[in-house]
Amino acid sequence: MLTVCVSALLAGAAASALLGRRPAAAAAASLSGLALGCAAGLAAALGFAGPSAVDAAWPLPMGRLALSLDGLSSLFLFAVLAVCLAAGVYGEGYLRRSPGLAGSRSVRPLFLTLTAALAVVVCAGNAILFLFAWEVMALASFFLIMAEDEHAATRRAGLLYMVCTHTATLALFLLFALLARSTGTLDFAGIRAALPSGGRLPSAALALGFIGFGMKAGLAPLHIWLQEAHPAAPSHVSAVLSGVVIKVGIYGFMRLVWMLGAVPESWAWAFILAGAVSGVGGVLFALAQHDLKRLLAYHSVENIGIIALGLGLGCLGLSHRRVDLAVVGFSGAALHTLNHALFKSLLFLGSGVFAQELGTRDIEAGGGLLKRMPWTSAFSLVAAAAISGVPPFNGFISEWLVYMAAASARAPGEVGFGAAAVGALALIGGLALACFTKAYGALCLGQPRTEAARGARDPGPAMLVPMGALAAACVLIGLWPGPAVALAGRAAAVVCGVSPEAAARALAAPAAGAALIGRLGAGVLALAALLALWRSRLVVGRAAAGPTWGCGFPLTGAGAQYTASSFAQPLARAFAPVLATQAHAAAPAGYWPRAASYATHTPDRVLDGMLLPAGAGASFSLTWVKARLHSRLQYYMLLVSLCLLSLLFWKL
């Protein structure tokens, strides 16, 4: 079934590339390839198709074409294919509606290639195949990010992404070379079986994995490409990038932990610390953004932080040999990965529609869209509630698992971890809620602030149906979390190296709690629906719909509304030392003030605050040295002799 999945996707990619001149035929080819491939892959991932493993020789040294599905791969394959299917169907409608992309011949084949590469990455059983698919994935997503390369910002984002992804790949090459040297094989199962326990190898491998997988996942402070690349890409590509491409980094971490079998306690600390920094930092920087997709990109950093908290608690359980803590921690991370894939891709799909209708990604340009685009707004509301961790949606279920893991870290020496994780999670949850209240309120509530917002309309069913399906999945997992928790539990069982039954026993209490939350949520929703129905019966014929804010303020226009910036301002001020927001203000002056303006800009702390100045400094000093060197032959000789002398001193 895996072979069918990958070959259908690749065949679709080839067909749509060959039919590039005829967009309708290319769309049909790519859709059918995508549908067939995803159907086969989803059937395999959910276990409907029986065991499906591929193992064939490959002429590359130490390489084998080995694909297999265990609990961990199944969960990630499911997330990959579900999100790619929804985003691909939506993408057809999106491409037709975007003037810059309608004539593009490369987006469809690249999208299918990316999907196939993602599927291979999460199923690969051999490091060479893994790295091969990893590079195909990185290149396909690079070209997709560069789809609208006429904009300078897009080219910058593409370059940044290229640098980051190759740094990550370099670290992974080193990682697998290290593992191969101590085990003599590049098959994952072989590495796991032959890896000597103890020594410094696990720490070195985790450090390299932290760079390689953390860069892909967007864990702070390696997140620098997310906030540039996600806004630059077409929206359905952003959905896949944020929904699943960064999740492949999480998959890599989990596969690495599976291979190592044991994790030093210091790395549990490192994950929890990185998770807390990513989570709180991500949501704070999201709070300061005006660009909708940039805001969502920072929320990806935040959610990767929550996942890393779960990973850290799981690693803590492994290092302390506490199976229950490890299983609950890793299940929380795995389930949050799945959930984030669903609601974040839904948010990006929604943001694409908003941006197309408004003509800009600036949330201040919206307003009142709930009345004009009811479906898109409703789906986005579901996703926003889910990402903020509000019950009864799916985001709360996975955060609940992470909370449970943190609460069960009670043994001496673990309390600090648990307390740090709980504190970070609570802060993240509150700030995320504030941030989505800001974004959603500015976009969808109130009165339209621009002409474009006044004329905005919902798109056709081709774009609404995939969004609806993702929203339904979010609600379904929230109300009936049993199957999803079980799926995550099987993935955690693989990572911890215990049987699925043992994992299910360890997960029994949190799962029961989650089920109760789901039932309560269903009850609340049913009650609300009943009350709404009752109300509509009572007020029928007696209620009149007026304009928004039409409550007796005749002179206030849309410009007098609360803006997103003003909503976020108290929080932004409280966290000003972290954010370092730059304000460009021209205050009104004189008795009859005319023009006044106020704009804020929050540069990224790591990229714009550290890396770019450091790079500019290095470049400047090297240019200076080069200019000096060019002037005289003697300087070259001096450098050569100094180099020789220092080598002599160093070696003696």
């Binding site: 200019a627 060019h630 005289r632 032959l633 003697q634 000789m637 001096l638 002799s641 002398l645 003696l652």
Partner: protein, 216 residues
């Protein structure tokens, strides 16, 4: 024998220092010839086994090349380009002398830490060879005229030759011939280069070479 080796080695270092502090080109070439002669005499005295006929042959070859042929070629080159003095060194003569003294100290520190096979009469040989190499480098780095750079290169070569004396009990013929041939070719090439620089640029200052670089 011991005292003679020590004396010759001390003389080699002293001549290198003199080269660093001297501005007259013809004077420099004469000093270089003297240094070549000292270096050429060393194989006769340096080994514990005493005098050997083969060492005499090497000695004669080195003296002929380093003390007679090469200086003559250089003097000829200097006459050709009509230059007498190094007038604009990058590092002044006094500073060069001070730096040279510093380098001698560095060489002794390095030689302390360098593992050297036994069998030598003098324990001064390794530090002196290192000091000569470094002072040759310093000359190449700090002088502008092509002729002084060639002289620096030859001092450098003398240092390498001394080091070769130190590391092998008896220099195998092949290595020895290789060293001599290397020097000979280098001087020829440099002589030709000097000649061409002088003809193209009306000067033998290597500073003018920068007009060949990719920067304006």
């Amino acid at each position: 024998m011991d005292q003679i080796s020590q004396l010759l080695l001390a003389f080699v270092v002293f001549l290198s220092l003199y080269l660093l502090g001297s501005s007259s080109l013809t004077g420099c070439v004469r000093i270089l010839a003297l240094q070549g002669a000292c270096v050429g005499l060393l194989p006769l005295t340096i080994h514990e086994g005493g005098f050997q006929p083969r060492a005499l042959l090497i000695s004669v070859g080195v003296i002929v090349l380093k003390a007679l042929v090469i200086p003559r070629i250089l003097l000829h080159a200097i006459r050709e380009v009509k230059i007498r003095h190094e007038v604009e060194p990058l590092v002044s003569f006094v500073s060069s002398l001070l730096l040279g003294a510093l380098l001698i100290g560095v060489a002794f520190v390095l030689a302390e830490r360098l593992p050297v096979p036994g069998g030598l009469v003098s324990n001064l040989l390794v530090p002196v060879s290192l000091a000569t190499v470094m002072m040759g480098m310093l000359m190449m780095v700090s002088r502008v005229k092509a002729v002084t750079q060639v002289i620096g290169y030859l001092v450098f070569e003398n240092g390498i030759y001394l080091f070769g004396l130190a590391i092998s009990y008896e220099l195998p013929w092949l290595i020895e011939m290789g060293v001599l041939l290397d020097v000979f070719v280098a001087v020829f090439v440099m002589g030709i280069v000097i000649h061409h620089i002088s003809r193209e640029f009306d000067s033998i200052s290597t500073e003018r070479l920068t007009s060949l670089s990719d920067k304006p």
